[in-house]
Amino acid sequence: MYIRKVYKLQTIAGKSFLFLRKDGEVDMTRILSFNKTSVWLWKQLSDIEFTEDEVFCLLKEHYEGDLSQMKQNLKWWIDSLIKEEIIVV
């Protein structure tokens, strides 16, 4: 899977956001905010192809914590971005 190149993370007032798109155009009514972990993941995954397992390996190398919870959170994150057609499988 990969992140569609049309999506660029934007920084507004020190916070990171993604403007969602609809029918090929920016949908002004829908904005996703990214926390620090999401921003880190986004930077790792931009411009590469990846699998969920590969991303999990990256994540557990960089962050500490409950691995099962981490895996669950990651799955939710990837599934959410797939649903919004930001990540293409």
Binding site: V6, Q10, I12, G14, T29
Partner: protein, 290 residues
Amino acid sequence: MENLYNIAGHIVYIECDNSAVMDTLDGFKVFQIPLVGEADVHIVLEDAEPLPISGTLYNTIVTDVAISRFYYTEKSFYMGIWRQNELRLSMQFEKNSKKCHIQGEISPVLLRFALWVAFNLATIDNMTVAIHASAVIYKKQAFLFLGESGTGKSTHTRLICQRYPEVELLNDDSPIIRVENGECMVYGSPWSGKTACYKPMKFSLGGVARLHQAVVNKISLLPLHNAIGALLPSLPPELYLCSNLQSKVTSILSEMIEQVSVYSLECLPSESAAELSLKTMTRTIRKWNK
């Protein structure tokens, strides 16, 4: 080079052989300046048929009178305006040279819009953007009132000016935001909608409110997410809908949000609404000062 204008601190040269066309641009006259060095923006009005448009379509605006379509390529932006399925006006903007060519129906309405688009494309790199708003000046600061067309922006600012004689209208449709030395400034512009309010002046941004019609008056300070949602629809879609320009627009938006408070104003067209908004917006201390 006699059609030379200083708009928001940018020198704009409109090359046009037909003085009758330039005479239709009422709002531009007070921005005219004497001959100076090189212009920042060079717009050429050509007495020719509209040219075919090419590139990747990124935005379409449909109004009662026309359909405007916006395209980009690696080196240029293009705009076409169609009326009754016929291409009436074409515009090509070269990114590197910032030179713009316009052909076709040079009617005042279409021409003013094309010049506005050209100005925005040419100046966005210099942290400058037009914003759809009615702007008033109070104590050397500019306060912006945003909202969908017909919400009552002009009515609200007129009521403020009536209630407070020391308040003055700066622009009624499209003032220009420019970030200068890190500070958001608001400039008057030659584009002011139906109100002939053309002022070559600038003031620091004091605050922003997005208007909504309501049955009671209420003003609320917006958190970050909502402030973005309040400001973004009033910035030119010709810019932020294009992936290549989006980050430039959000940089300006970011500066605005960091520096001043953004409010939601639910209101009636009444003097008490004018009192509520001006009192609230002017008692807020600027978030940040350089």
